[in-house]
């Protein structure tokens, strides 16, 4: 069995599972945020009206809560949702609730690794499609809707069809100015937004071993954009060190068997990859950045769980150091801990000196919620994960998806720019 099959077999009390088996898997961790939390409460209300008694959760210690989409409270409804979420954690005795304005908080997927909320070998579900992100730690991590999360909160388990696994092998170290974002965009361009539908995308090879933990998280994050159920990477020493720095040392790593089966193997040479961009209106609409070099922009957005981790901010700062932006540019670190590290390393000063606005952690404009959404006809280059119509604001705005290096280089010139071409 491969790593995903072994985790699902363990979680469902079976010796063996194969792709297409349907299992009820016991869940190790579950997450809700300020959108899915109130959504789950609406499901609870519906269930109560139909006569069900809901007095306690299956295990409040396995539940954690983030505030990220519409915070700092964007308007009256968002503020009410945060109040609702706070009441929810109080009523059900959930202790891990990351509140904005009270120390560490941030985007849920970022907290999942920054705070070691999820560990290798676990089954982790969250009320958000980019829950896949956390698979980079060697966990089975999948997004669910409100009804399913409500079911998990009350029963501690949920059904899964055991997915087939597509294996993406990266040979060699990524060249300078090429990031994990370029690699995952290239893959999505190759296989399409449903290329991994219902499947798991596993990453391996020397290129992955060379990659930092945060860069790996960019890969698994955007498996969602290929339609995947989950993304996963087998844990190695870098993961162990990363988790140990965050106080997590006790867990049961899972690795695939030597004879593990994969539905398909895709092989990429790192040396052949280039700075890459996804054009509107789909993440699969991929082209190398140089071919778009005359495209004028109104805005650059460096934010989200995909593109505002510490490595992302370091990359942007490398470009912006000593330069000035020509278009509106926002940097929104994905968590307070990352904000602090960016400040300690002098990155925040570099951004401010370049004319960039540095804001609080939030999903913000990535999902068109608030904090810099796009007007009609505005064109944005963004380190986020989706560019469907209306994703970042007006339905006639346009978003180009790119790495933080490309976004920062483009911010400097005001048009899409390959960072290798920056004078």
């Amino acid at each position: 069995m491969n790593i995903t099959e072994k985790i699902l077999a363990r979680a469902s009390g079976r010796n063996n599972v194969s792709p297409d088996d349907v299992v009820f898997a016991n869940v190790d961790k579950v997450m809700v945020h300020d959108v899915s939390g109130p959504g789950v409460l609406a499901v609870f209300e519906k269930l109560k009206k139909s006569g069900m008694k809901i007095e306690k959760l299956w295990n409040p210690d396995k539940v954690w809560v983030a505030e990220d989409h519409f915070v700092p409270a964007a308007d009256k409804i968002s503020a009410q949702n945060v109040v609702l979420l706070t009441q929810f954690t109080k009523d059900f005795g959930i202790r891990k609730h990351f509140k904005y304005g009270m120390g560490q908080y941030g985007i849920c997927h970022t907290l999942s690794h920054e705070e070691a909320m999820v560990l290798p070998g676990e089954v982790y579900v969250g009320g958000d499609s980019h829950t896949n992100t956390t698979g980079a730690l060697g966990a089975f991590a999948a997004g669910l809707g409100h009804t399913d999360v409500a079911y998990v909160l009350l029963n501690g388990k949920i059904w899964f069809k055991v997915p087939e696994t597509l294996y993406f092998k990266l040979n060699g170290k990524l060249p300078d100015y090429v990031m994990a974002k370029d690699f995952i965009l290239k893959i999505i361009g190759d296989i399409g937004t449903d290329g991994a539908a219902y499947k798991t995308m596993q990453f391996g090879g020397t290129g992955i071993s060379e990659m930092s933990v945060e860069e790996r998280l960019t890969l698994t994050n955007m498996t969602t954009e290929a339609g995947a159920k989950s993304g996963i990477i087998e844990p190695d020493q870098k993961i162990r060190d990363y988790l140990a720095q965050r106080g997590a040392v006790n867990y049961n790593e899972v690795h695939g068997d030597p004879d593990a089966q994969y539905a398909k193997l895709y092989e990429y040479e790192a040396s052949e990859l280039e700075p890459t961009v996804a054009k509107p209106f789909s993440p699969e609409n991929v082209i190398v950045a140089r071919e778009l070099s005359s495209t004028p922009l109104d805005k650059a957005y460096i934010g989200s769980c995909t593109g505002a981790k510490l490595d992302d901010l370091r990359a942007a700062a490398k470009i912006l150091k000593g330069r000035t932006v020509k278009i509106r540019t926002e940097v929104l670190p994905a968590a307070i801990s990352i904000f602090r590290k960016a400040m300690d390393e002098g990155l925040v000063k570099i951004f401010l000196d370049a004319g960039v606005m540095v804001g609080p952690p939030t999903c913000g404009a990535c999902c068109g919620a608030h904090m810099g959404v796009l007007a009609k006809d505005e064109v944005c280059i963004s380190t986020t994960n989706r560019n469907f119509p209306g994703r970042m604001g007006h339905v006639e705005s346009k978003t180009y998806l790119a790495s933080p290096l490309v976004a920062a280089a483009s911010a400097v010139t005001g048009k899409i720019t390959d960072p290798r071409d920056l004078k």
Binding site: G39, A42, F70, D148, D194, G368, V373, G390
Partner: protein
């Protein structure tokens, strides 16, 4: 189950167009319905009638995990979406929450059905009858567990 077709001749109809992000903070189901399909069809809310079907291409419902998407369609009156394929979270939200039926159809069926056609859906026979064109199509049968959850009326009513 009988109703008229609202057809979108496109693939990858994503959750950002089915129910745009700014409305994610809303959890009043009837309010959500007013914004269904707003990303590609501003008139949807006015033209949809209870019992209508949506017909679309591949990968319907891709994008986010928002259950708001099937909820908005369901509370608009949509009883089933007929598509060549579905994104996984939309599919399980539709079934587990018992909001609407996600029906997988062949490409030929997708091409043959026109806007406004009257359809009759009989899932027990895996049949779709086009009353306007006087034709019968096959739907892809539900996988075993999905069929049971649909029959039970959602995941919470399903007994393992």
């Amino acid at each position: 189950m009988k109703g008229a077709v609202i057809k979108y001749e496109r693939d990858n109809i994503d959750t950002d167009v089915i129910l745009p992000g700014p409305y994610l903070k809303i959890h009043d189901y009837n309010e959500l319905a007013k914004h269904a399909m707003e990303g590609i069809d501003k008139d949807f809310h006015k033209k949809v009638k209870p019992g209508d079907f949506i017909v679309a291409g591949r990968n319907f419902g891709c994008g986010s995990s928002r259950e708001h998407a099937p909820i908005a369609l369901s509370y608009s009156g949509i009883k089933a979406v007929l598509a060549i394929s579905f994104a996984r979270i939309f599919y399980r939200n539709a079934v587990d929450g018992a909001f609407l039926l996600p029906i997988e159809i062949e490409e030929d069926t997708y091409k043959d059905i026109s806007e406004g056609d009257q359809l009759e859906l009989e899932t027990s026979k895996n049949e779709i009858r086009n009353l306007t064109k006087n034709k019968t199509y096959k739907m892809k049968p539900f996988p075993e567990l999905i069929g049971k959850i649909v029959a039970a009326g959602g995941l919470f009513n399903y007994k393992q």
